[in-house]
């Protein structure tokens, strides 16, 4: 009984982690940017969806769409206002640009976080689930919303896989992650590939944020932990490796759920962090990292 409960709850949370981490790792893989405003963009999406439904009386679907749209806008803002100016700057030495991007996106994330807290308080917000109610799965009372979350996450990840492996644009993105110089030599515009990647990132982070808002709820305090969790999943899976991130998301998700059920909810995140430290010792490139 408890095993089944862990299996169900763990799957939903892992799928959500996977979706959140995929966009994060994709951006890193393709453009070498570690976007530390990731958590802020996810929270922004959820808060926008909440505000649309709660303050402007829109229906749940429109609210969710607005949440995702806001995340896409925020992703572009991150790219054009923070990342690109640093990358193009002549005053910042090339070898320091990564650190500048890291710091820039971190500060950008804090700005978003404070703005959310200022306008919508730092108390948690929850998005009204698209599907409500519960179903009985072999004696386990499971919210329909939890199943919906898992299904949407898996679908979006599958669509992403199709996009990357089966379309021309996707192949260009993949190529850019392998060899950016090669891509430019083939006559493809690296800049437009980056824009595509940031758009995909915005959609992924937006969907993950809105789903998280429906499933558990978010507050401006969630910004740090969400970035940290995406970061550790991506490091565990291997920086830039999408499939590594997927595996790592399930490892972390289940480890947390097992800890919460069998030991105590208070120690939820600790074993996953210990595992991260252990993996860094034994296999610094992560589970499926290249190099």
């Amino acid at each position: 009984m408890l095993a089944l409960q862990i299996l169900i709850d763990g799957f939903a949370i892992s799928a959500l982690y996977a979706l959140g981490a995929t966009g994060f790792t994709l951006i890193f893989g393709v453009s070498g940017v570690l976007n530390l405003s990731h958590g802020a963009i996810m929270v922004l999406a959820a808060v926008a969806a909440w505000a649309a439904a709660s303050l402007f009386q829109l229906d749940t679907y429109s609210g969710a769409l607005i949440g995702v749209a806001v995340a896409v806008v925020a992703a572009f803002a991150t790219y054009f206002a923070v990342v690109q100016p640093i990358q193009r700057s002549r005053r910042i030495p090339n070898e320091e640009k990564e650190i500048f991007v890291l710091t820039g996106t971190l500060l950008w994330g804090i700005m978003i976080q404070e703005l959310i807290a200022y306008f919508f308080t730092n108390n948690a917000k929850t998005v009204l689930p698209i599907v409500e109610g519960v179903v009985d799965i072999a004696g386990i009372r499971t919210p329909r919303n939890e199943i919906f979350t898992a299904v949407v996450c898996c679908l979006v990840i599958a669509l992403l896989w199709l996009l990357v492996n089966r379309t021309r644009t996707g192949k260009a993105v993949l190529a850019a992650s392998m060899n950016p110089r090669g891509v430019t030599l083939l006559g493809l515009e690296l800049g437009s590939i980056y824009i595509v990647v940031w758009a995909i990132y915005g959609i992924l982070a937006g969907i993950a944020g809105v789903l998280l808002g429906m499933f558990l709820g978010v507050s401006s305090y969630s910004v740090g932990p969400l970035t940290a969790s995406a970061f550790s999943i991506v490091v565990l899976g291997g920086l830039g490796s999408v499939s590594g991130s997927l595996i790592a998301a399930f490892v972390v998700g289940y480890l947390e759920t097992i800890t919460a059920y069998l030991i105590s909810p208070a120690y939820r995140t600790i074993p996953a962090l210990l595992l991260l430290v252990a993996v860094m010792y034994v296999r610094p490139q992560g589970l499926l990292g290249r190099r």
Binding site: Q5, N122, E132, A266
Partner: protein, 410 residues
């Protein structure tokens, strides 16, 4: 010009002169307000304090002295609060400080009130340790006043209500305590553990969880496993998430107890109305005439800020009034004289009759709990509204639960 008119003109001129003279001579009474302006509960503190000050000033102030509120947002942080307190006293020269609903913050400020010899009063923190420290070292800590019920009194208030509402009316027998791990819940839990069995509710389990918990599924799962009739809550830092997940997961057990976020009228929207059915303790509440001042205050607050106040809005509003009253009685804002006057406070506010425990009581400088003073209320979210359900003399509504709740009334 007739002589009569000349006299009138002269009198007016004299009056005007005197008025300006008085305004120049009388310094304002400066009250610093350090609060969690970004949190649902804390946001009401500076708003309510300002409302009270505006009302007092509109009636001419205190002996011609206006009340000036100086606000500081502490971002829910103790370190920010200490810096704000130092700035309030040393630079902004406030006479007294109203601060915070978080016990950790008030406990961090208490020694600073002693060091800087500036009276401090909290509208919403609950930890017993705040007033116990005053009792333990009166000369040093006499600057701190506890303008809200102690955790011990809160537990008692919840038990008093539970006895009537749950045990006598609904024949409930068992409970699980669910509280967040924070300074204020330690004495609260001790109080619950002590008084729940006495009223006839056996405590089956006691779950303390981290205030940064986001997924409450395992917690509700564990609670359901012990099959209690009711969940007795002690939550303040969290509120929206456990409530929404309680509804989404259709946990069939009612929640009853302290849920600070539920005291704010925006809680319904924040939870997408998942709040319906939640029963929570308050010192006062929307639409409940605890005293004749309660409803005019909530109406004025709503008219000015668009929403009803949280629990610490009521206390902050009362505090500004009884500080003004104490300044009037003391005839001064000198710290020692003000403390002596505050100790003699006997003020009918929005939450009841406010008096402070004395030097020899264990909770020195904390507001007195009991019939005829402050007893607290129980309220419930019903159909998106907050309604009073206890005590019967002021709160008329009956308990009402959403369909997924299975209330035992055997």
């Amino acid at each position: 010009m007739t002589p009569k008119f000349r006299t009138l003109l002269g009198a007016t001129a004299l009056g005007l002169l005197m008025a300006t003279g008085q305004a120049l001579a009388a310094d304002p009474i400066k009250i610093g307000v350090i609060a969690e302006a970004q949190a649902i509960a804390g946001a009401s503190i500076p708003q309510a304090a300002q409302l009270a000050a505006d009302e007092i000033n509109a009636k001419g102030g205190v002996d011609g002295r206006k009340i000036e509120i100086v606000t500081y947002d502490n971002h829910s942080s103790s370190a920010d609060s200490v810096r704000a307190f130092q700035r309030a006293v040393n630079e902004d020269k406030v006479n007294i400080v109203i601060a915070s609903y978080i016990s950790e913050v008030v406990l961090a400020l208490e020694p600073w009130a002693a060091r800087l010899k500036t009276p401090l009063i909290t509208p919403g923190a609950a930890s017993n340790e705040i007033s116990k420290a005053v009792h333990a070292d009166y000369e040093k800590n006499k600057y701190t006043f506890h303008g809200y019920l102690t955790s011990a009194a809160l537990a008692q208030s919840v038990c008093d209500a539970a006895k009537e509402l749950l045990v006598e009316q609904r024949h409930m027998k068992t409970a699980v305590i669910m509280s967040e791990d924070a300074a204020w819940t330690k004495p609260l839990d001790v109080g619950y553990e002590d008084c729940l069995p006495k009223i006839g509710l056996k405590v089956l389990d006691h779950i303390r969880f981290s205030p940064d918990t986001t997924d409450f599924t395992p917690i509700f799962n564990k609670i359901e496993g012990s099959k209690p009739d009711v969940i007795i809550t002690g939550i303040s830092h969290v509120g929206v998430q456990p409530t929404v997940q309680w509804k989404n997961q259709q946990v069939p057990i009612p929640m009853f107890g302290i849920a600070s976020q539920a005291t704010n009228s925006t809680f319904g929207k924040d939870t997408n109305e998942a709040a319906n059915g939640v029963i929570y303790q308050g010192v006062s509440g929307t639409g409940v005439a605890v005293t004749p001042k309660s409803i005019p205050f909530t109406d004025a607050f709503k008219a000015k800020f668009g929403n009803f106040p949280s629990y610490c809005g009521y206390t902050a509003y009362d505090e500004v009034y009884y500080i003004a009253d104490a300044v009037k009685r003391a005839g001064s804002t000198d710290a020692d004289k003000l403390i002596a006057a505050l100790e003699k406070t006997d003020w009918i506010g929005t939450i009841g009759r406010v008096q402070f425990y004395g030097k020899d009581d264990p909770f020195t400088h904390s507001i007195k709990y009991g019939k005829g003073l402050i007893t607290g209320l129980m309220l419930q979210w019903q159909d998106g509204q907050q309604v009073g359900v206890w005590p019967a003399d002021v709160a008329k509504a009956k308990l009402k639960f959403p369909s997924f709740i299975k209330v035992t009334s055997n």
